[in-house]
């Protein structure tokens, strides 16, 4: 699979009078896993929508592999996962995965077989089930299989496991990490959970609220799988928390 970098340059966005994002500069390397952390309402989701080209920024620009988001979407390079699994309830799990391949097909690319993907996320037994009969965790597994179905080079993930219970969330994040290491897409992972951000990513970017600006970033040079009880992990967690707390206090 082709690897792609994401470049965000002097990006600002306003909703009416509200300044949602201000002068965001961010470069994500091909195959890098970057977490974006910030309190609720700091513009994390807006940034993700702008990168996917679902919205157009008031100022500044976004380039994926040097192309505009619209071109990246047309080439089907963007994998999108949000807090809601957003599966089609009238299609079975397998049919949902197939739909991702059916929409905007890219000639000449090899698409993986849906059943193999379902096996990868542990849903083989539920291939013929309808989404509403599944638990929230299984729905997100199906959504992950659907993201993999198009072989996308960029994963934009807006708190995909936030609605799940702690244990399921941890387990799914671990599995996601394994799949990521296998395919190495470029990931922008949005979360408000610092612990999760440090456990998963290569780099943690902290966003301030109103207007959203980058407060700072922390590189996570620890090898995976990471031991969250280690001194290095705890130290990084402390640094990130200090950065986030300082900005929240300033923001208020």
């Amino acid at each position: 699979m082709k690897q792609i970098d994401i470049r965000v340059s002097e990006l600002s966005h306003r909703y009416g009078r509200t300044h949602a994002l201000k002068s965001i500069n961010l470069h994500i390397q091909p195959g890098e896993f970057v977490s974006l952390v910030g309190v609720s309402g700091c513009g994390k989701s807006t940034l993700m929508r702008l990168i996917a080209g679902l919205q157009t920024a008031t100022e500044g620009g976004v380039w994926l592999d040097g192309q505009l988001p619209a071109a990246a979407r047309a080439a089907k390079q963007i994998g999108w996962m949000a807090q809601q699994a957003a599966l089609l309830p009238w299609r079975t799990v397998r049919e949902n995965v197939q739909l991702a391949q059916k929409i905007n097909p890219q000639p000449g690319t090899n698409t993986p077989h849906p059943d193999n993907l379902l096996k990868m996320v542990g849903l083989t037994e539920f291939a013929d089930a309808y989404p509403l009969t599944l638990s929230g965790g299984m729905q997100q597994r199906a959504a992950l299989a659907r993201t993999l179905a198009t072989g996308t080079a960029v994963w934009l993930m807006d708190e995909p496991f936030a609605a799940l219970d702690e244990l399921t969330r941890e387990l799914l994040a671990e599995e996601l990490l394994q799949i990521w290491r296998q395919f190495r897409p470029t990931v922008l992972w949005i979360t408000h959970n610092l612990h999760e951000a440090i456990r998963l990513s290569d780099r943690v970017v902290v966003l301030t609220p109103r207007p959203g600006t980058i407060a700072g970033e922390i590189a996570v040079p620890l090898p995976r799988p990471r031991d969250d009880t280690s001194a290095e992990f705890q130290d990084l967690l402390r640094q990130a928390r200090a950065l986030l707390r300082q900005e929240v206090v300033h923001g208020d």
Partner: protein, 286 residues
């Protein structure tokens, strides 16, 4: 109070014993004669509804008999049912004509309502114009349009179908449009992230998602379609329940009028139940 209570209990005990006897008989008959199909039918029948209906007819009959109400004012149920059975073929034929007109009008009205809703969904700038026209048509009393259409199009089924369509298209239009727009935002984001075309978004998300809204409209509009057809028939028709009712009305033949009403009620219930069972089949994921 205490005596009353005992009295009631006595009475009640009598009831239970009677009931138990009946149960025994029923059990006996069902095990020895009734095949499982009959048994399952007996289980599915809404006995409380049947009981209520029998009770109402009983009271009605008693009131008419005790009061000696003349049949041209208010016929007893027995008189109505006598007429119904004596003229069953005619009434069913008339009912069939009305039903066909109503269903044709319903299909036409639904098709037009759906088509307009699709049009507005794809070309939003058409909304104001289409909706103003739709509201104008909807606001014109159907009772005023029906005779005009009869004069123009004659005593055949055409004016009935059109009146029914005029009566039914509006709720379908409103509900379909609401349904097309009620698509989940997260689903829309996902489809757009794949660069889905508006047509793909419509076929994959808007159309299936609007089905619950559409069926809600059909439940309302189904029985309404029969009313539309009957009203149009009152304005002049060569056949149909409306014509039968009009004839009965001009002759003050109240049993005939009531019999026609009964047939109409039966048809209306059947139409409603058909829509409900279609809904169950098409909304399997809910």
């Amino acid at each position: 109070m205490a005596t009353e209570k005992t009295g009631y209990t006595e009475l009640h005990r009598g009831d239970t014993e009677f009931h138990r006897e009946n149960q025994k008989k029923l059990r006996f008959s069902s095990t020895s004669f009734a095949p499982s199909a009959v048994k399952s039918f007996l289980q599915r029948v809404n006995w409380s509804g049947v009981g209520l209906l029998v009770g109402v007819f009983g009271l009605w009959e008693t009131a008419v008999q005790l009061n000696n109400t003349p049949a041209y004012l208010f016929p007893a149920p027995t008189a109505v049912f006598r007429y119904l059975f004596l003229h069953l073929a005619d009434l069913l034929l008339a009912g069939g004509v009305t039903l066909l007109e109503a269903v044709a009008g319903l299909v036409l009205g639904t098709a037009v309502g759906l088509a307009l809703a699709v049009l507005i969904t794809f070309w939003q700038q058409l909304e104001q114009g289409v909706m103003s026209l739709a509201i104008l048509i909807k606001s014109t009393p159907i009772i005023a349009i029906a005779p005009i259409l009869t004069i123009w199009l004659g005593f055949g089924p055409a004016p009935k179908v059109i009146v029914t369509a005029l009566l039914t298209f509006f709720p379908v239009l409103i509900n379909a449009l609401t349904g097309f727009r009620a698509v989940d935002g997260a689903l829309l984001d996902w489809l757009r992230s794949l660069n889905a075309t508006p047509q793909e978004i419509f076929l994959q998300a808007r159309w299936p998602g609007a089905r619950p809204y559409l069926f809600a409209a059909l439940r309302v509009v189904g029985p309404l379609a029969l009313i539309g057809a009957v009203v149009a028939e009152w304005m002049g028709a060569s056949s149909g329940l409306g014509r039968a009712m009009w004839l009965a009305y001009t002759n003050l033949n109240m049993p005939a009028l009531f019999a026609a009403v009964f047939v109409l009620t039966g048809l209306s219930t059947a139409v409603y139940q058909t829509i409900v069972s279609l809904e169950k089949r098409f909304l399997f994921w809910e």
